[in-house]
Symmetry: C2
Subunit: 435 residues, 2 copies
């Protein structure tokens, strides 16, 4: 077993709780093997001889978890973001998402596109991901290989889509289930940190037969699941017409073990839960909400009720939702989540919503969601507490400074609003230096 | 007179109307002196010998007009953006804005800070600005000098604040008016393209005596004015208590010729107009609304009713509102304005607001606001139509490409979402190459 031990020296910030940053300016965070040994103002005598990466003057934060992103959509990032919000489902999805994904039947295309995606992802502050691929097994395996080669900790999903797709991007129910079973067999134990996640695209794209088949695979392989839930009002109406016997959209997943019962489930968006759906969600201990604020502005013009989820004890993490979000830089989600919560607060308060009291998020809370909130899907991740996976990102914010001295707390807030890949100076995942 | 004539060759995009881009891929935009001669697919024979800057493969767009920004707040950009929205007025303003501005009494500080601000502004796509300075005459003159030296077309305001400020950042009414008069005398004709703009900070910071004195200066110097209007609900209540005889906040400017009667007036924000205020605004032909969406999310959690203003024929441009907005990159305002309009649309529609129909903006409209919308404050600016001021920005978007060919229209949308100063390859203002 790897028992490397080393330290990073610099301005260390993390959020063990959502309420506040713990900060050590000029401190050390020590890695033993793949996990955090501890954070110190000065190295203890027993550790005085270990190698030290000196990042004095730079910010050292936990790696971020992007728990909802579509890797194959990276090609059209920043496009179609301003289409009519009344036609996102019919136009953006059919004009951009599906035709782009169709190209991944071609492995040579997938090779070039996924290489670019993983290269660019490497330069961000993200260390862990939940990533949608396409329906194509071979291309999905290629994506997993690339994520593993670059050192990421990822769940990757080969999609299931046996209804409501476009010409050239569909599967029969049998194909969908057979390919998924084969893919699970092939990848279940292939990598230490890149794992398959069962991924029906969303209820409108999967028949009940397909969902029942996936449920059998969940029970056989015990892998987690991900999908989309209650993202838009039109979508919710559509699900109601497709699955009229379900009490709420969430039930269309729950009845197939895909809402956090047997295995962990990540559900993206959750912007418009009904009271019934909310009550169901709060009973599901293994459910994670992937909050994707930029995407929500784009697709619905609104914001998810994140404070309600947090108050109910539901796990929440952040997602870029590439490419209904335009960037892989998860700092954008951190700052957008703050804005989204203000928008929710403002409109809810004016409408007399009983949840309007303090529904907005602090910067600390939003940073927590991006690190420990989403990281909790992997157990102990997203914080520098002892025993946590050693994911660390070094931010060189010197180019963002001004004429006044700023505190570490101010510097990380400014970096969240203004930094990009130019400011990511180094990155470690599970104790391994990957950048 | 300068009768230089030259052309830029590349992929030319502009929005003569808000409805659509006019695009010439591989075309020429010709500058004669300081204005646009025309846009051509190929150079006419009479122009065949003029110098050509070859930007083949790059996007050439009109320069952008940032019609609301606070230059002295650049130092704390990205800070305090996540404070409680219920305390923005009392905490963000008093913790960041005013203490930072107080430092500009020190000219050495102003020299360093304004040099950095204008250097960084130069690297953006912005060519024209309406810029708030501080109450300090000397530092304001220094800012004007720097903007002029770098080639900008700007209106700059020495602020007036004779009430409700903090220790060390206030003026008596006499000082405020005397310094403003002296400043107007000194700078009124000093530069060709950088001009003074009368700038009461906002109604709560100026007594009626001060406003009346400024009105006299408006009538004497005939310079335009700028201020803040109906930005937040608390602020509006405060104005009501300070000026109980005014029928609406806007009237507190209008009665002193500061809402677009005698001279042009730029009013920032205008998020919460009453019906009375809206009716007043639409009667004022020389009023420009500076829409600052990122700032609105930050300070109020809501969005201005831009569609209403446009439908009423009120001029609208975009503002970064540095530093209630975090960046000088006005593309951020373009994309945020689209999102803000969706948020307004969504919430208005759900509330049964009669203006809910198609209140969202298209990307074309938002781009138009950033260029010709704000540019119209200077007459013919923000477009490549013949006779318009020759402001042009060259965007090298090659680093933002993907594996698929994209149209110029797609490329400019992607650049709006993803570009920053790295992608600004060249800039011309009034026919002069400044970058």
């Amino acid at each position: 077993m790897d028992e490397r031990i080393f330290a990073l020296k610099g301005t260390i910030l993390h959020t063990p709780t959502p309420q506040a940053f713990e900060i050590r300016d000029g401190g050390y965070v020590v890695c033993r093997g793949q996990t955090v040994e501890g954070v110190y103002d000065a190295l203890p005598e027993t550790l005085s001889a270990i190698p030290v990466y000196d990042y004095t003057g730079k910010l050292i934060i936990p790696g971020m978890a992007d728990i909802h992103q579509h890797a194959p959509q990276y090609g059209f990032r920043g496009l179609g973001m301003a289409m009519s919000p009344q036609s996102v489902w019919s136009s953006w999805f059919e004009q951009y998402s599906l035709p782009e994904e169709r190209q991944y039947a071609d492995l040579a295309y997938a090779e070039r596109a996924y290489e670019r995606f993983t290269e660019d992802l490497l330069r961000t502050a993200t260390t862990r991901t939940c990533t949608f691929a396409t329906i194509h097994r071979a291309a999905t395996e290629l994506l997993m290989e690339k994520l593993a080669a670059k050192g990421f900790v990822s769940y990757v999903g080969k999609l299931n889509m046996d209804r409501n797709s476009i010409e050239g991007l569909s599967e029969t129910t049998e194909e969908s289930l057979a390919e998924t079973a084969l893919w699970l067999e092939r990848t279940h134990d292939r990598y230490e940190f890149v794992k398959p996640m069962i991924t029906p695209r969303y209820t409108p794209s999967c028949t009940r037969e397909c969902m029942a088949g996936l449920q059998s695979l969940i029970r056989r392989f015990r892998v987690p699941t991900q999908s989309h839930l209650s993202e838009g009002l039109d979508e919710i109406e559509w699900v109601k017409s497709l699955e009229p016997d379900a009490g709420c959209y969430g039930e269309t997943y729950d009845r197939y073990d895909m809402l956090g019962t047997l295995v962990p489930s990540v559900q993206a968006h959750c912007v418009f839960p009904t009271e019934e759906e909310f009550a169901l969600m709060r009973r599901r201990a293994l459910l994670w909400v992937a909050h994707c604020p930029q995407s929500n502005f784009h697709t619905t013009g609104y914001a998810a009720p994140v404070r309600r989820y947090l108050d109910a004890g539901i796990h929440v993490g952040l997602g870029s939702d590439m490419a209904a979000g335009s960037t892989l830089n998860l700092f954008r989600a951190v700052t957008d989540a703050v804005n989204a919560s203000r928008i929710y607060w403002h409109t809810a308060e004016r409408k007399g919503d009983p949840f309007a009291k303090r529904t907005y998020l602090s910067f600390e809370e939003s940073f927590y969601l991006a690190t420990k909130g989403g990281g909790s899907l992997w157990g102990k991740a997203g914080s520098f507490e002892p025993g946590f996976w050693f994911d660390a990102v070094v931010i060189d914010d010197s180019a963002l400074s001004d004429l006044n001295p700023r505190t570490p707390r101010q510097r990380i807030e400014r970096a969240a609003f203004l930094s990009d890949e130019r400011h990511v100076a180094a990155k470690f995942i599970n104790g391994r230096k990957v950048l």
